[in-house]
């Protein structure tokens, strides 16, 4: 306890010099990790089983983000309501947050974080008067328990769809793998993997399985612990049998022709220092949180183990047929530092409990609405048996809708919290060559 107090004091002192300090206490942590312990948010007329559609959307306008409100109003989709339920994150992560409470501070530059060990770096309610509040929330997302210490989407189907004709133009089949090399809380070795001379924080490895023209394409991203250091990324092109280093432009470019750029993965997949972050407020809105096993599932791509993927419907077949629930969110805007970035800003709706990014709205360089991103979060206890008790909100379905281009990309996940699927060797450049032909 004495040690902890010392750390708290040190953190506060450092914070005074570098960024506005805020000392959280254990009760703050409890409230943050268990926001629905005592009560859940409510809204008049909202209850499980209600369908929000064109006829009643005005009644729920206040609890819908701008994009979803418009889609429902236009009759593009309906929203099935379910009760708000707790998604308790992995206990080891929560405990790590408590152990390392108030040890983390921000440096002078955006992206400069100091003292962080494990857990949630800034377990505090954001303050509109804190100019770094948005950045702290971004770091909480970055160091969230998003796929645990490691996870896989295995497999992962993407469909390119025409919004107007509902024609499926392309179906891509991937495997995605994630590995945290640092700040691990659940899988040995902890907190850091040994032999990490480059100081990597995280690796993302993507393998394309179908169709033929992109088969064997592989993507590897190395994100450094030093957020001010540029990611390294490599692409293996099957038809060239060659590993190519990716330029940053390709991180902010359409990934394999989809409506996503690599930077869009998981809601935001870039450096914190690449953006200016602004906290815009806290609100209760409808988010795509659901029990996978209780959703309408598709017969397409049914797996041999019986796993079935989320069904899509609505306008253009772009909208996941899933339940939504009213949840507490932090609204954060991220504006690219690079003036040549293809977007002007993103508005993220961060789920306050899990720190996932289930809703993101993207604006083009002119500031006009360009894309809207939904990532459905399945409760791990109602998913694959292996995911039960993992304390991970499972990314389970996504829609990236380009409202200007009248086009969308949808995603159907088979998320697996299984360290065996993401061995460290997958996250090396050489693995691209070995796995390729």
């Amino acid at each position: 306890m004495k040690k902890q107090m010392t750390s708290m004091i040190t953190g506060a002192i450092l914070g005074l010099g570098l960024a506005s300090g805020f000392a959280a206490d254990m009760s703050d942590v409890e409230k943050l990790f268990y926001p629905y312990k005592n009560s859940v948010p409510t809204h008049e007329g909202l209850k499980s089983g209600v369908i929000i559609n064109q006829s009643n959307v005005e009644k729920f306008k206040d609890i819908l983000d701008e994009g979803m409100y418009q889609f429902i109003k236009d009759g593009w989709t309906e929203m099935s309501v379910t009760d708000t339920m707790a998604y308790e994150l992995n206990k080891a992560y929560i405990n790590a947050t408590k152990v390392n409470l108030n040890k983390t501070t921000l440096g002078e530059k955006t992206g400069d974080i100091r003292g962080f060990i494990t857990g949630r770096p800034f377990p505090e309610e954001p303050d509109l008067n804190d100019p770094r509040a948005g950045e702290k929330l971004a770091f909480n997302y970055k160091y969230g328990y998003n796929w645990g210490d490691n996870g896989s989407v295995y497999p992962f189907y993407w469909k390119f769809r025409d919004l107007n004709s509902a024609k499926i133009e392309r179906t891509l089949k991937f495997n995605f793998h994630f590995l945290n090399l640092k700040h691990r809380v659940n899988d040995d070795p902890m907190p850091d993997l040994p032999k990490n001379p480059g100081g990597l924080f995280r690796g993302i490895y993507v393998q394309v399985l179908e169709p033929f023209d992109v088969k064997n394409t592989q993507l590897l991203i190395h994100r450094y612990e030093d957020d001010l250091k540029r990611d390294n990324a490599w692409l293996y092109l099957g038809f060239q049998r060659r590993v190519r280093r990716l330029a940053t432009g390709q991180i902010t470019d359409s990934f394999l022709g989809s409506d996503l750029m690599i930077e869009d993965f998981e809601g935001y997949n870039g450096r914190i220092s690449d953006m200016s972050w602004t906290y815009k407020g806290t609100k209760n809105i409808m988010l795509p949180f659901y029990k996978h096993n209780e959703q309408k599932l598709t017969e397409d791509h049914k797996m041999s183990d019986g796993f079935q993927f989320i069904e899509f419907g609505g306008k253009g077949g772009c909208f996941p047929n899933i339940d939504w629930q009213l949840r507490k969110v932090y609204i954060v805007e991220s504006v690219p530092v690079d003036p040549n970035h293809p977007i002007s800003k993103r508005v993220h709706y961060i789920d306050a409990e899990t720190f996932t990014l289930p809703r993101t709205v993207i604006y083009d360089r002119k500031g006009e609405l360009w894309k809207t991103f939904v990532i459905g979060q399945a409760h791990p206890d109602y998913h694959l048996p292996k995911n039960k008790g993992s304390g991970v909100a499972i990314d389970d379905s996504f829609m990236m809708l380009d409202v200007q281009g009248a086009h969308c990309t949808t995603g159907q996940f088979k998320g697996q919290i299984d360290s065996a699927l993401s061995p460290r060797k997958k996250f090396t450049v050489q693995n691209l060559r070995v796995t390729g032909k």
């Binding site: 032999k195 480059g198 033929f212 540029r230 049998r241 280093r245 330029a247 432009g249 293809p342 050489q430």
Partner: protein, 658 residues
């Protein structure tokens, strides 16, 4: 027996066409086929590639069926992963049946060869040289070597050889006309040309290898890949600096096809010890490659085929015909006839000039090829260090004093003659030391790629040497630059890829000297030595865009040969119609100077004093005084772009994947 084999081969076209038709109608979707237990996957494609060449017509009508299989095995305690991977490819190129007059059994015809000797006709038929039968040992049997089925060497690259040397090249498939066919090297018959994969080396089996990984307790892993395969080294596109383990097939589409499709798979043991992060290296790996296959050279095309890099196939076939059957050589002999000028077309006897044969290395341990590579990432920079010892995939012509014993057409004496253009083809051993690296420069948002190799043992034609070749160490390098850049008025949603590469070659022991005639400023004479440029550079530029969710991709690929002064521009549009169908429409246009001249060794005086020129101070002293022409060595000055300068094409490729 031959008939039976031919009947079998003849059915292959029908089989392939039928397979293509069945596939196109009965199979839908581009998802791989998978066995019930998920351990066996298969997929493939059928494809038609139809190319039209300016002034020729059909130059390619290739129909392909490719099938790819992958089988995963349950692993025991040794292997963490084990799989078998097989790729079959069969093609039928209908150009030899549909355009017989240019490439098939009716190709070529009777030719006339230039003779600038003012005392005779300006052109003479093959076999009717001014100097011919009746003069010493000159002349050849036109019954054995008739004036039919021939083209004039280089006529597909330059309409007029401008007083240079030339001779006839047989252009019909080797079963139709065996003249000039080089056993074991360039001896393709009609079915070999129509069905290039169905040969004695079973090239229809493009890949067949076992791939396994053996983990170690320290976290390291040994990956073993054994079988027929492609092994790719290096980081550059289009150029082969380190990517030289597999030979390539230039007969498919000269230098313009994807390397993936033209690498000739080899039986190789490829072992890689993967250490992952070690010390200050973020990734470190050791690689051993042992190519234990029987030697295969690059396929350069053959006289009469539509694609030949540097026009080498035609030159070799013409030279081989000269050796076997004799030939008429244009503008060769200076005759001591008072009041006349120019050089007379000359009929050489068999066994006097030309190519005697190719000494293809037999299989032996000593003739296998081995390489080592260390590859990794340090401080964010990818790098490799490479060593490879291999047999040259390009031929080396050993002539003159190192060539075959040849008939002196003046005296009848048979022996190797210094500077005589009588050759054997050899494939010398080369040692390659190289490296590569890539890095990202954030300030200019660009990726840079570097690749370099230093080789020893390479041989070059050299008209200064009595054996007409010399050895030199060579440095080759490529600097590549890639950048994604938005061009909002062309596409506001998707960046364009700009990629440029500069390829350089430096021949360290390069020899090129003025000759007595060139020093005297005599028109038509130049320097003698190595025709390849001492320093040469080629630049490539790619601009590629994507529309319609990457399903429509226009691009412009261009290359410029600084030394040859020639360029090629290849615009194309790649349309992915759906997950199964793909259409590529492309063009290939060349510009620039085209063919170049170089010392052709007509003035090498191998048979002094009879072949001496006024510029030979000693009529018995052999050696070139630099008389030059397009053929045969000008091709090395022109480069592969210049030598194909008249091969502008429109190309349409349609593929269906299943």
């Amino acid at each position: 027996m031959t008939k039976i084999i031919r009947q079998k081969l003849g059915t292959k076209a029908a089989v392939i066409s039928m397979a293509a038709a069945i596939s196109m109608t009965a199979i839908s979707g581009a998802q791989a086929g998978v066995s019930g237990d998920g351990t066996l996957e298969w997929n493939g494609f059928v494809e038609n590639a139809t190319f039209l060449r300016k002034g020729v017509g059909l130059s390619k009508f290739r129909n392909t069926v490719q099938l790819e299989l992958s089988k995963q095995f349950n692993t025991g305690s040794v292997f963490s992963e084990l799989s078998l991977n097989v790729t079959f490819r069969g093609t039928y190129d209908g150009v030899y049946d549909l355009n017989k007059s240019d490439y098939g059994n009716q190709a070529g015809g009777a030719i006339n060869l230039q003779s600038t000797f003012s005392g005779g006709p300006g052109f003479v038929p093959h076999g009717s040289g001014i100097v011919s039968t009746g003069t010493a040992f000159f002349g050849f049997n036109t019954v054995v070597n008739p004036n039919s089925g021939l083209i004039v060497l280089g006529s597909d690259a330059h309409a007029n050889n401008e007083g240079g040397v030339s001779f006839g090249v047989p252009v019909r498939p080797c079963d139709v006309d065996s003249r000039g066919c080089i056993a074991g090297y360039m001896d393709f018959d009609s079915d070999n040309l129509r069905f290039p994969e169905f040969n004695s080396r079973m090239d229809f089996l493009r890949e067949a290898y076992i791939d396994g990984s053996i983990p170690f307790s320290n976290g390291h892993e040994l990956n073993v890949r054994l079988g027929r395969q492609q092994v790719v080294w290096g980081r550059t596109d289009l150029f082969r600096v380190l990517d030289v383990i597999n030979p390539v097939d230039y007969s498919r589409q000269n230098i313009y096809d994807e390397l993936e499709d033209i690498r000739i798979p080899q039986w190789i043991l490829n072992m890689e010890y993967r250490m992952g992060a070690v010390g200050s290296f973020e990734d470190l790996n050791m690689n051993l490659v042992w190519n234990f296959d029987k030697f295969r050279p690059n396929s350069l095309g053959q006289g009469g085929t539509p694609y030949q890099i540097l026009g080498a196939g035609g030159f070799f076939r013409g030279m081989k015909n000269c050796w076997n059957n004799g030939c008429t050589v244009a503008n060769f002999a200076g005759l001591p006839v008072p009041g006349t000028t120019g050089l007379a077309a000359t009929d050489f006897a068999p066994g006097s000039i030309g190519i005697r044969g190719a000494n293809m290395p037999e299989w032996s341990i000593g003739n296998t090829q081995i390489g080592f590579k260390v590859e990794g990432v340090k401080d964010g920079i990818g790098f490799s260090l490479n060593y490879l010892t291999y047999l040259s995939q390009l031929p080396s012509l050993h002539g003159g004093s190192a060539g075959p014993a040849a008939l002196n057409n003046f005296t009848g004496e048979v022996k190797p003659w210094p500077y005589l253009i009588a050759f054997d083809i050899e494939f010398p051993r080369i040692h390659l030391f190289g490296g590569s690296m890539d890095l990202y420069a954030d300030s200019i948002k660009s990726v840079f790629r570097f690749e370099a190799a230093y080789t020893t043992g390479e041989e070059f034609g050299n008209t200064l040497r009595p054996e007409l070749y010399s050895e030199s160490d060579v440095i080759r390098y490529v600097i590549g630059w890639d950048r994604d850049t938005f061009i909002p008025f062309l596409n506001k949603n998707k960046a364009f890829l700009f990629s440029a590469q500069l390829f350089g070659q430096h021949i360290l022991e390069h020899e090129l000297e003025e000759t007595p005639a060139s020093l005297a400023g005599i028109t038509g004479f130049g320097k003698a030595g190595i025709p390849d440029w001492k320093d040469s550079w080629t630049m490539t530029f790619l601009m590629k865009g994507w529309y319609m969710q990457n399903r429509l991709s226009p691009q412009i690929l261009a290359a410029y040969d600084f030394n040859g002064g020639t360029a090629v521009i290849s615009p194309s549009i790649d349309w992915l119609i759906d997950d199964s169908w793909r259409l590529v429409v492309a063009a290939n246009f060349k510009f620039g100077k085209g063919p170049r001249k170089f010392d052709d060794c007509r003035s090498c005086n191998p048979w002094g004093p009879f072949t001496a020129t006024p510029f030979h101070a000693d009529a018995l002293q052999a050696g070139s005084v630099g008389l030059a022409g397009f053929e045969p060595l000008g091709r090395f000055r022109s480069g592969p772009i210049g030598m194909a300068s008249k091969e502008d094409e429109i190309q349409v490729t349609l593929r269906y994947r299943f």
